[in-house]
Subunit: 185 residues, 2 copies
Amino acid sequence: MEKIKIQNRPFGPFPTMLVGADVNGKPNYVTVGACGVVSLKPMLYISLKSTHYTTAGVKENGYFSVNIPPADLVEQTDYCGMVSGKRIDKSNVFVPFYDELGKAPMIKECTMNFLCKVVQVIPIDDFEMFLGEIVAVYVNEKCLTEGKPDPLKINPMIMMGASYYDLNQLLGNAFKAGLKISEGK
Amino acid sequence: MEKIKIQNRPFGPFPTMLVGADVNGKPNYVTVGACGVVSLKPMLYISLKSTHYTTAGVKENGYFSVNIPPADLVEQTDYCGMVSGKRIDKSNVFVPFYDELGKAPMIKECTMNFLCKVVQVIPIDDFEMFLGEIVAVYVNEKCLTEGKPDPLKINPMIMMGASYYDLNQLLGNAFKAGLKISEGK
């Protein structure tokens, strides 16, 4: 297998997430690939440019939401990453809903929603990384299989290179697929 | 669409990456979902438990590699997340190769490889987040289409829930899929 050296850039795969926050009293949404786990605690990070419109809302409220847009929302999702809430009101792109805590708008059309409480803010160059404790999780009832969230029904989008992809098929289960090797040794 | 509230836990999607480091003079690999971007700079983060075997190697060398295992490596990949290098020598699970800089082993069987130089270490509970500047990127020549890395040929695995999935199809391009909406407004 021949390897070739290419430009020093990230390439993915990254999750495609919509981050929600109330800014100036209205729901605002921004698309991020910079979202994920950082420990085994129920926590998600997001990383936002300090000057972004959503960033002000996250700081003001101390909360943000992370929403998984299903593949059929690719146009709306990409749109929310293209235009700034500073110039354009994105509050009507989706239908918002709130946990009983309030704090940050979640997106009804997204198949899974996480409400996160900011517990740590880490400056990284001109970005800020927000670590958020997960305080509420919602999933569409239709996306359950035998009472559990089903990844293929949740139907997330993955960013890789400059494109979005959906999921294909189950390859194996974590801490199980490797048993054949570990037991063979 | 009925929403139901479930347990406060992350669910994914997360990338499935193999992190490589030399530990005690031998290549060692660990599977992580805690890997991604944190700003627009050519940088990747990984987050590792402080007590993990690989963590010592990353600290000692100041470098780590991030390797994208293709879907047919699901068993080997899961295995590297199941067993610790403290107990089991994982140096023979894959064929390592090195950039001219040396510093950290990359995995020949992985379709894309990033060599990263640690530029910041952030303690998060019992984990450490390493921010690594990307200093070399390799891709399998077979995974190019018209000279560019092709996500479907790179064929990464995505972790979601407790399972691994591969990618299905291109849904749209970033900063293009949303044009229809932005131009309609």
